[in-house]
């Protein structure tokens, strides 16, 4: 299983995921650089993602929406604040809802070569609980609906 660790910090409102994959780092990077591949894994199973924009350079933006099972649409956008091909990239999330500048969260993605392939280290930092409420929209309801699969997933 690719996940090697998940670390949550409720005080600092951050989550760190480390995952390893049996493919070269360049291949792993491409999955994030190509919106057609990205949309196949970014959304949860009950709400697939559609990327309408993916301008993968510093200052560029990505825009996407998740389509929920009952016709809900959750739109979000990112601003790329760092893009260092095949090493790392960073985004500010929630720029579409920037009416409240405290809302955005930041996400960093770091890619490394390992003896068996490649490693992704991801960190999300939320600026506040309100930012979390907006960034994880409807997720809890979705997860409750997906409860039967949940236990199986957590064992992975």
């Amino acid at each position: 299983m690719p996940i090697t660790s998940v670390t949550k910090d409720p005080e600092k409102l951050s989550l760190t995921v480390v995952a390893e994959f049996p493919v070269p780092r360049k291949r792993l990077w491409e999955a994030w650089a190509d919106p057609r591949q990205l949309e196949r894994f970014w959304g949860p199973p009950f709400a697939p993602a559609t990327f309408t924009r993916h301008d993968f350079r510093v200052g560029g933006r990505a825009e996407y929406f998740l389509s929920g099972p009952n016709g809900e649409k959750w739109a979000d956008s990112w601003k790329f604040t760092a893009v260092n091909p095949i090493d790392s990239f960073e985004v500010r999330d929630g720029e579409a809802n920037a009416a409240d500048e405290n809302l955005p969260s930041s996400m960093t993605f770091t890619f490394e070569t390992t003896p068996t392939g490649s490693r992704l280290t991801h960190v999300t930092r939320f600026s506040g609980v309100e930012a979390m409420e907006k960034t994880i929209p409807g997720m809890e309801e979705g997860f409750r609906a997906a409860m039967p699969q949940l236990d199986a997933l957590l064992e992975l």
């Binding site: 996940i3 409720p10 995952a19 491409e30 196949r40």
Partner: protein
Amino acid sequence: MVVVPEESEESLNRLFRALADGTRRDILARAIAEAPSVSELAARYEMSFAAVQKHVAVLERAGLVRKRAHGREQLVSTDHERLRRAGELLDAYEVLWRQRVAQLDDVLREGN
């Protein structure tokens, strides 16, 4: 002799002023127990919505409660409640990431 820095003396004064009022103590107790909305609080006391908002603002300035938006409502909660909620949301977010990584793994294994 204990020297209280001016800044913390000021925040102590805010704290004691906030707790000196019975309605505010009651609001604080409810915020600890259940994170009520400002309109729920306003329905409980014989005072206007604006008056309740003022009490909440005094508690907020003393660092005793926080307000957060929930749909069109403003929920009043303590840091304890905030931490609990943060933990809940992080749990959901963790599941989201676990699914995401499993799906990414599938995409990578397909060899594009």
